[in-house]
Amino acid sequence: MESLSETKWDVVIEGTGLQHSLLALALSRSDKKILHVDQNEYYGAAEAAFSLQEVDGWVERTKGCSDGAPFRNATLWKADDDESTNSEKLAFSRSYTLTLSPQIIYTKSKLLALLVSSKVYRQLEFQAVGNWWLYNEVDEELLKRLPNGREDIFQDKSIDNRAKRSLMKFLKFIVDFENQTGIWEAYGDSSLQEFLSSQFQLPPRLQLVIAALTLSFDSPDKTTVRWALPRIARHLTSMGIFGPGFSAVVPKWGGGAEIAQVACRAGAVGGGVYVLGTDVENSQTIESTEEEMLEQKFSLSLSNGETVTTRHYINTKDPTASDGIVVSRIIAVISSPLLPIFASSTEGSPLAAVSVVVFPPNSFSQDGVSLTHPVYIMIHSSETGECPVGQCVLYASTRYFENSKVVLEATISKFLEAVKDNVKLLYTLYYEQQQVTATSSLDLAFDDQILDNVEEQWKAVSGYGDDEEHPPFMQFADREGMNADDDNDDGY
């Protein structure tokens, strides 16, 4: 095997999380010499997706990690499966693909456009995030589907006419909020709850509906207007872009992990060298004297014992990244397909593979457990390829606090009671995740900011100055030998 140190690398990228994988994709046609390493034996870093067996190993490794690690306190629970029938017990390990960072991608996100323009979208399959549900113990109907549009609102008998008018007024405002700063700028730092109540006279129930769309880890009285409005607008204006009835998608087979792998693959196809299970242990800046302006600026010691030199070094360490947020998550496998949850409510919409259930703060209280923060459950059907037919995977998230594990468990119980489907819990994985690097994101929706970071890094490595002309970001022609349009190709 030829040695890595013989090459003068243009860039060494550390970590194959989503952001760094997208950078590899962006650089895949640059003819730069790229070395992409990951300390793990798998792709995806914090966005990785695992089989059950891989989860076992991950849990063990997580135990040995220090406070600065992205994951902590991982604990596993599995149901006894002695007398259970097939769909009521766990299938074999590789029937599952559990993703550590469940994220939805809004259809308006630039990410989708870039996956198309860079041609890698063909190796991915996207599925719709269909129904959104709100849990509410005030009504007889515990789970209420969020309205998908104006028609739904008009037909909803539980909303009185005055509230409907208020809601319409708000919807009209929000799609154009950027041009209507006069209405909200003064309230930018106020809470969303107060704003919706004072400026739009929305009743509390509808405030919760609007707040649910932000996917905020904070309660509506702690979520600022400035932060919330773009997110609400994103949700509403994403509706219908790729088909009726949904505003977001997920990649099949494990979400962000799939995108990371396809992006890394594009990097490899472009000549980038990939080495897993290898970390950068130590980096040193190479001092260049005036006589010899060295191009290689960094000397990196790899954990496999080799030392490589490179012009650019993209690492995962970013002390400024941590904003202190820690999120608690439970991944649960259950013994039901939960068909009613995914049933289409909009004609012509694709079959939803993911559904979102929002538990607003204080939506229930039981045995001394009450919700101080919202809890979100992303429900993935077997259509996602993440579990066998007849089962579902639940990804529950909430902001970490003292008893957030108990709260998440109680929320999942409440949800299973509400669907009244005699559902058995088969498997749960609890863990806490914190943002310790610039390249992972706790957000439940893909954050386009990541793409701006990638573009910056791409420009820096490519040597494009700010005002210089450069090729458009991630716009590639088909590679030679590719079927130009795989939907129209003829059989042989």
Partner: protein, 242 residues
Amino acid sequence: MAEATAPKPSSSVKLVLLGEAAVGKSSLVLRFVNNDFQENKEPTIGAAFLTQKCNLPTRTIKFEIWDTAGQERFASLAPMYYRNAQSALVVYDLTKPTSLIKAKHWVAELQRQASPGIVIALVGNKLDLTNESSGSGNALGEDSETDAAEGENDDGDARKVSTAEAKTYAEEEGLLFFETSAKNGTNVTEVFTAIANAIPETSLKGARGPGATQSSANRTEDQSRVNLTGPRDSASKEGCAC
């Protein structure tokens, strides 16, 4: 595609190519997809991802073919290959015994790591370097020549791996087995057709993962698929652009 016939069910199948460097993986695909062959082809950097449809009597299989991108040396791309692959083409060079050892290694890895229902075809390539006119394959029946001479013959036969040896191994492991020539096309289409036929119908209904083996009946594939490039409301009508 014939416009007049009613559309057959169409399914996408991920196929990964594995094998030692220079055994002819990319050439096999090139022959299959473009019916073309290049002498002294450069090592692969880039062929990457090709698609080809395979029409069976009752259904159409669209192969999504993942070539190796020429990174065998670090085996670092293997994990992403294995994931969700429904079929694998493990290629060796029948003039090079070490390539069969490597192929066996890949088969073991696939059995350990890939989806349990994966269809694996073991393919001995470069049949044109032997002096047999047609290769052996399990689709051709049991009567094919199974005891080719070991070692190089006087008459320029470069075969070093006997058909019997590879075939016995393939049978033990439950693999499809073919000897092919990407150069003159022998058995290439047959390999892909055999794989297409071997993919269980039940694993095709929209899901290619291991969990899909008991999928609900009568569901058109891709019902859940969102099309990022097509017209807005054709997301569920695969193939309408044909």
